[in-house]
Amino acid sequence: MMKVNPVSVDNFRASMKSSTDLIDTSVRPETQSFEQTLLKAFDSVNHSQMKTETLSQQMIVDPESVDVHDVTIAMAEANLSLKIAQSVIDRVIKGWNDVTTNR
């Protein structure tokens, strides 16, 4: 005669792990950092704009203390980071609209 182990309902559930149990649905730290990443990006855009302003002011009052390529590179950098930020915002908003209107 075969020995049958007594199986209770809880043990049964524990022994029947399905694939959906492997998905971890707890709130992880990475989902918060999207907002932080966005804020950090805006900070860096603002920082590059401020850098252009200080360099321009320094160039006005003391033309010998700053090189011309410093000023033009800072201007190009500020322009580019502003355009990138605008493009990112446009796409985020479009994606959000797509997600919410496709219910």
């Binding site: 704009q49 401020m50 252009t52 302003e53 321009s56 002011q57 160039m59 006005i60 009052v61 003391d62 033309p63 011309v68 000023v71 033009t72 201007m75 500020a78 322009n79 502003l82 355009k83 605008q86």
Partner: protein, 137 residues
């Protein structure tokens, strides 16, 4: 005033000073053979620097206590909008035997420098407006 308007205003004033300096230098160059002619220079940048530095004086700087409005104070903020370009006659040096103190190479170099400076200023000014426009689109 906000940072954009302030930078635009500063650039505008610097361009005004540049055009004045250009006229003054052209006058110097034209009079480079006139006996007893003394060259003129324009002072603007150093005074502007003084006014701008007075706005950011540190908190622990030298202070004078005042008990009357007429007392002098050491921490007054100079408004940079009151700074005007001034023409100053340089009468102390002599370059040639006829009393003239114009050095043509130096004046020609100054003309070139003013042109490059002016181009730089217009470039920054157009950059400012382009930034503002691209945000408004």
């Amino acid at each position: 005033m906000n940072s954009f308007a302030r930078t635009t205003d500063l650039l505008h004033r610097a361009m005004d000073a540049s055009t004045l300096r250009y006229t003054v230098t052209a006058n110097n160059l034209a009079n480079s053979e006139v006996p007893n002619f003394k060259r003129t220079v324009v002072n603007f940048e150093t005074e502007l620097k003084r006014a701008l530095d007075s706005e950011t004086r540190s908190a622990g700087a030298f202070e004078l206590s005042k008990t009357d409005d007429r007392h002098l104070s050491a921490d007054s903020v100079i408004d940079y909008r009151t700074v005007e370009p001034r023409r100053v006659l340089d009468y102390t040096t002599t370059e040639k035997a006829n009393g003239n103190n114009v050095n043509p190479e130096e004046e020609a170099m100054e003309i070139l420098r003013i042109q490059l400076n002016y181009q730089m200023l217009t470039q920054i000014q157009s950059f400012q407006f382009a930034q503002a426009n691209s945000v408004l689109k």
